[in-house]
């Protein structure tokens, strides 16, 4: 087993190194490394065909529990988490349909109009909108549309769009932490450990809402001077009309209905028994049928590269899991924390946050799930406590640096492409303290709720 462990670890480290350097596109890296794991770890070192079958997990599609899970969710085993893949695919198809219909731009413009285009009100409402949208939709899409409208309004109202977009980025990441479908680590944690949308809302959602209050206050205090309308002339502005954002009224209504159906299905999935895989497949099929004439265009825009990256990643992490490496890490954490739940939580929370600030939080979360499962077995600390801790650490930690989360990269790219200056220094000056504030708020919440009160 030692040889298998060494090979699996080397492949994992090499994969991470290649992902960071971006010399080769990450989906090729993860799929290539997945092939190496199958050949060398499972084939040559372990000679274990069953490990290959378990990791590829194709049999999951044939299980009733993959599509319908009455009662308590079981959670997926090791290997490729097809439920996550199918759900993300479904949401991608749905979001592309919504974007094509002009939904996001319409929503942004409606809210700006509702607050009478006052910069401070736009700033606060856009933060809230970013938080709420990111609870259901991937943060990249949220930021792409919000940032574009923010820049448009900033040029019109003459306020600084950089600080507004930075706040939106942070709130998108925070909103993503609130639900099971908001951020990929949460989907992976939820499907792997069998938690529902409601479980996430009641736990990470609760912490995210409390943090939101702190963070809006923080951003308002820090940025209020940059939100002053520089144009004091009082000249009449030609504000964009929300209805102009709608490309096609029929498609707009249909895509809005599909979105609302997806939200209802997600919120009620613990009651209906429909799994996220079923919901993903359902909204994808619904979008494909209703947007049949734009199907080719919508399907072209789906981010297959990310889906392929996930597939490869699950196999590589499966290699670490099957060889027992992740159990060794869990043993190590249990040892240095001396079985103390407070120290264990602090380690999981801050290590997750710091790691996610610098590396992709998806591979990190996927790697840590078997670790926290093992930690629970070793120490007796409830798995739920560690799961919410891991989710918050990976979701929030990514906000601290420009490369920590996808929303950060996209928001900065939109600003730079529009010729606004934003680099590491300016980003970290405002968002690193914000991240620390939220991490401390969440750590207190976890200690009080799961260790002190035991609710």
């Amino acid at each position: 087993m030692l040889a298998a462990q060494i090979v699996a670890t080397v492949i994992f480290v090499v994969m991470f190194a290649f992902i960071v350097t971006e010399k080769i596109e990450r989906q090729y890296v993860s799929l290539g490394c997945a092939a190496l794991v199958i050949i060398f770890v499972f084939g040559v070192c372990m000679r274990d065909v069953q490990a290959i079958i378990d990791t590829l997990a194709f049999k999951d599609f044939g299980k009733l529990s993959f599509w319908y899970a009455a009662g308590e969710g079981e959670g997926e085993g090791a290997g490729i988490n097809w439920a996550t893949i199918l759900f993300i695919f479904g949401m991608m198809v749905m979001v592309e349909g919504m974007a094509k219909a002009g939904f996001f731009r319409w929503l942004c413009l409606c809210i700006a109009k509702a607050v009478k285009y006052k910069p401070t009100a736009v700033f606060v409402t856009f933060m809230l909108m970013s938080f709420v949208l990111a609870m259901f939709i991937d943060s990249i899409t949220v930021i792409l549309f919000l940032a574009a409208v923010t820049i448009e309004l900033a040029r019109l109202l003459e306020f600084d769009p950089v600080v507004v977009i930075l706040s939106e980025i942070f709130c998108a990441n925070l909103g993503g932490s609130a639900t099971m479908c908001g951020d990929p680590p949460n989907i992976i944690i939820g499907t792997s450990l069998g938690y529902s949308f409601g479980d996430f809302v009641a736990n990470t959602g609760f912490m995210a809402v409390i943090s939101l209050v702190f963070i809006i206050t923080y951003f308002y205090l820090v940025f209020r001077n940059k939100l002053v309308n520089k144009d004091a002339s009082g000249a009449t502005k030609n504000y964009p009309n929300p209805s102009e954002a709608i490309q096609n009224k029929g498609s707009f209504i249909i895509s809005t209905i599909i979105f609302l159906i997806a939200v209802v299905l997600l919120v009620s999935h613990a009651q209906t028994g429909l799994t996220v895989a079923t919901i993903g497949a359902f909204v994808a099929i619904l979008t494909m049928i209703t947007s049949f004439k734009d199907l080719k265009e919508i399907m072209k825009k789906v981010d297959y590269k990310t889906l392929l990256f996930f597939i490869g990643l699950f196999v590589v992490v499966g290699g670490l899991e099957q060889t027992g490496i992740l159990k060794l890490i869990a043993d190590f954490i249990a040892k240095i924390s001396g079985g103390n739940i407070y120290i264990m939580i602090a380690i999981v929370l801050w290590v997750s946050a710091i790691a996610s600030a610098f590396v992709d939080n998806i591979p990190f979360a996927a790697t840590m799930i078997p670790v926290i499962k093992n930690l629970t077995e070793i120490s007796g600390v409830p798995l739920t406590t560690l799961a919410w801790t891991l989710a918050i650490g990976t979701d929030i930690g990514g906000s601290a640096t420009p490369i920590g989360a996808s929303a950060n990269v996209v928001g900065i790219a939109v600003l730079q492409k529009n010729k606004y200056s934003i680099g590491w220094g300016k980003y970290c000056k405002y968002l690193a303290p914000a991240t620390i504030i939220v991490m401390i708020v969440c750590m207190i919440c976890i200690y009080v709720r799961y260790c002190g009160l035991g609710v």
């Binding site: 960071v20 490369i403 900065i412 730079q416 529009n418 606004y420 200056s421």
Partner: protein, 199 residues
């Protein structure tokens, strides 16, 4: 000029490529597009020329940059793409110009009126040129040349399909060492004129 002409000059640091490009622009009476395009980009936004210049023709730095669905937080890459877009727009407008660097050999390769030239020089000549330009000693000049050329190579190869300095990617590769800048410009001018006639 009745037909459009674009001369793309790629050059080794210290080879005098910029001087030759300036000379060619004057000889053909067309605009020289060099780092002056940075100020044009800066004018369109809330960013200073100084800020853009910091990342001009610089390779993307690994470890502190990330790409997500084609979007990146790398200022070097975003500024490079802005420059490529600017060059494409300028070329599409039908204007004739001489462009220095900025991956123009690759960015404008689909334009039949684009003549791509690579100017090099041997090390002693490059060192001589840089020593005279910046008042530095031989070792310092040589180190600077090596550093700058490594960066140019990395920058070019990051965004282009062909490799920097690979003769297969250029219509003409010429060393400025043997004949000097003016005579080198004469040869390029003669070639471009012949080429222009056949457009």
């Amino acid at each position: 000029m009745d037909k459009q002409l674009i001369i793309s000059i790629s050059r080794e640091y210290g080879s005098g490529g910029h001087i030759i490009a300036q000379d060619l622009a004057e000889r053909f009476g067309i605009e020289l597009v060099d780092n002056s395009l940075l100020s044009k980009i800066a004018e369109e936004g809330e960013i200073s020329v100084h800020e853009i210049a910091k990342f001009d023709e610089r390779p993307k730095r690994p470890f502190i940059t990330r790409t997500v669905r084609g979007y990146t937080n790398s200022p070097a890459q975003n500024i490079a793409e802005m420059q490529f877009d600017y060059l494409k727009k300028l070329a599409a407008s039908g204007q004739s110009f001489v462009v220095v660097g900025r991956c123009s050999d690759d960015v404008l390769k689909d334009y039949k009126c684009c003549v791509s030239i690579f100017i090099m020089a041997d090390m002693p000549h490059k060192v001589q040129h840089i020593m005279g330009k910046f008042e530095m000693n031989k070792e310092e000049a040589e180190a600077l040349i090596k550093k700058k050329n490594a960066k140019r190579k990395e920058y070019h190869n990051r965004y282009c399909t062909g490799k920097w300095g690979d003769s297969r990617n250029y219509e003409m590769c010429i060393s400025s060492s043997s004949l000097g800048y003016e005579k080198t410009a004469d040869i390029i001018e003669a070639y471009v004129k012949e080429r222009y006639e056949k457009l």
